[in-house]
């Protein structure tokens, strides 16, 4: 694998993470991180949507009329999201019920549109798809970390299995969205103390 592709793949995971560095996709990361299972399915859905829509837009990039490019991109993203939602409804009904509206809201996830505008419109299909997949993965990683703490402390379980003793009193604050923001803040803090060049002067 050449340097360029490696950078495309690894950059969004840590150095240029869409949530903690670009601060995109915050809304859904607050909403679907109450339980690990939901967060995993959401992460997988975003990876698929982001990768495939970047690929398709990149294939179309030379033919899309500039004036309506946002609309065309939206049609592609919406198509992917609805397909993912339909497949989940058919094959993972319980999880789809749990994620309810948030699968549909991937359409408005800034990461997807952001990567299409910033990368897929100007690059070849394969690097574009990898960029989409990697950004989805960067998003999913944060989602899973936040969900790990929220499910552990909020319900005393992981993937629905009880890990903390039954005498543990679940912390209700952790269940509510503000706690996701606090955990997210802690992750940003940790990342910035490791990666000094992110710190503003």
């Amino acid at each position: 694998m050449n340097e360029e592709l490696k950078k495309t793949l690894l950059n969004p995971i840590f150095k240029g993470n869409p949530i903690t560095v670009l601060v995109l996709g915050i809304c859904s990361s607050l909403a679907v991180t109450v339980q690990l299972k939901g967060a995993c399915v959401m992460a997988l859905s975003v990876i698929i949507v982001c990768g495939l829509s970047s690929l398709i837009v990149s294939l179309l990039r030379n033919s899309i009329p500039n004036r309506v490019r946002i609309i065309v991109q939206l049609v592609v993203v919406a198509l992917m999201v609805i397909l993912v939602d339909q497949v989940l409804k058919a094959y993972a009904y319980a999880v789809d019920k749990q994620l309810s509206v948030y699968i549909g809201l991937i359409i408005t996830n800034c990461i997807v549109m952001g990567r299409i505008e910033a990368f897929a419109l100007g690059n070849k299909p394969i690097p574009s798809m990898l960029d989409g997949l990697a950004n989805g993965a960067g998003y999913g990683m944060i989602l899973i970390i936040v969900a790990f703490f929220r499910e552990l402390l909020g319900s005393g379980t992981l993937f629905g299995f009880r890990v903390l003793p039954a005498s543990y009193v679940p912390n209700n604050l952790v269940i509510l969205p503000p706690m996701a923001l606090i955990i997210l803040g802690c992750i940003v803090w940790v990342q910035r103390s490791i990666q000094k060049d992110l710190q503003e002067k």
Binding site: S63, V68, V72, V75, V76, L79, L83, K89, Y93, S100
Partner: protein, 290 residues
Amino acid sequence: MNTNNNVYTIVYTTIVVVIAAAILALAAMALKPRQQANIKAETISQMLTAAGFASKEDLAKNSNDQILSMYSDNIKTAFLIDAAGNKTDELETEVSSIELQDNLKAENKNIASGNPALPVYVFEKDGAEINVIPCYGAGLWGPIWGYIAFNADCTEIVGAYFDHESETPGLGAKIKDEIWFREQFKGKKVDFEHADNPFDIVKGGAPAGDASKIDAITGATMTCNGLDAALDTWLGAYIPFLQKKAGAAVEEDCCCCDGDECADCDHDHDHDHNHDHGHDHNHQHNHQEG
């Protein structure tokens, strides 16, 4: 090629949209049978949970087919009733062709217009009948619905299950998640005297000893109000049917206790409520003798 040309732009967007629509239509058609099977199994497992056959978590481990056959094995009869509580139509209960009346939203409107087709699902558990009826209403963010199970003569609630589309997790969603909330329904009664308000979910705690009131959930006031309204509407609509059932059971009880212990009575005694009933009769009997 000039991609900023007006004609090009219009033709291009049209083609993109038509292709997208075609793909979606195909996917929807291909996946529809599976999706509907999922919804059906989900509805049935909610009923089975309300009737007390298994917990929702255990049912979730079963495949759709297992849930359908569980329904078919345990159901005695399912039928529709009209506003006066009279049976109008049978629902198929064979495993291959299970019919459910699951368009509760439409029936919610029909109750208001006075011409509903309300479903009653009669299960048989440990030799006793369990009557399961649905309810439906508006929560804070979206629809909420549930199933309520009654004992054989419809005088006492033996279980309930509620679900919602988009209530707040940790707050309104507790009507589904908190087991203590639905456990409260056990042993409660529908107030036949007040058809417009037969059941109450009371904020701040239900008065002790009131048979048709339960506690609301802290932090879920709007959802509980919605559920309260849904219960009032639907239980109110079922009151003619429930009353008929209760009335018929009282008559049967009298016949039974006059003669020797019959089989019917035997399993009725399994229920605490009926047991009390029988006891009263015995008591009166003794009194007369004395």
